[in-house]
Symmetry: C2
Subunit: 121 residues, 2 copies
DNA sequence: GTTAGTAGTAAACAAAAGGTTAGTACTAAC
DNA sequence: GTTAGTACTAACCTTTTGTTTACTACTAAC
């Protein structure tokens, strides 16, 4: 994307729709945090609830279902184990979010610094 | 970021906090859409309300205030004009979101294709 | 003088998201 | 036998978010 580039209305609409689709999948208070927790090896329900600070079981359960629908994780039941163990494993596809995480994390960190500086001044 | 890289807990926390700070500023249903509308040259209140499909005046008003606090726009009153014209101009800083838009738009577009394919199969 | 446009705000309400509590059913440790 | 852990779900409540309607106050066009 070059400085000062202008877009056709169609391009612009695609752009905006893309952003909205992305936010639909990973936006909101919890989804990115959950995916990050999954990728970091926390794969069980109670473990996730402990890792993702402040989330309730109800909300976690809903979010996991949505993430599964969107192909970011797979619910794996180990029926042989006792008690039955359920694992939520991130898919290969979840790794495609790496750049999204990176860019958001980077911008967020810079933004915080900027806001703190402005408040001091 | 290399494949399979592991993070220290501190790095991971910074990363997550960054993502959350970013989502705090541009997350939610409307903020990115508004910023995109601003950058595309729609700078007046009623114009924005027409451009950002479905937003109500109250919500637009609130969102604009938050975006101003976060340094993404400036509220400029042209008192000499009659009737008084108010412009919401995106700041230089708003351009720093370009990469965020680009990555989200890209991922969202790819994701939609993937979901559509999976549903067909 | 009526309509439409400028930029909003206030009040009342509805919908969505999230939290709290309790409960299922089973196991393993103390 | 009590406590804690496994993985949730249902019911109920609160908070947040968003919508609708009405209103201000002024101007310009028809």
């Amino acid at each position: 994307m070059k400085e000062g580039t202008l877009y056709s209305e169609a391009q612009c609409t695609r752009h905006i729709n893309g952003v909205e689709d992305a936010l639909y999948v990973v936006g909101g208070k919890w989804k990115l945090r959950i995916v990050i927790a999954l990728v970091n090896g926390h794969t069980r329900f109670n473990e996730l609830q402990r890792t993702v600070n402040g989330i309730s079981a109800r909300v976690l359960s809903n979010e996991l279902k949505q993430l599964e629908v969107n192909g970011l994780l797979q619910r794996v039941v180990q029926a042989d184990q006792t008690p039955v163990v359920v694992e939520y494993v991130p898919t290969e596809y979840a790794k495609s979010l790496k750049d999204v995480f990176a860019v958001l994390a980077d911008w967020g960190q810079k933004h915080k610094k900027k806001i703190l500086l402005n408040d001091k001044a």
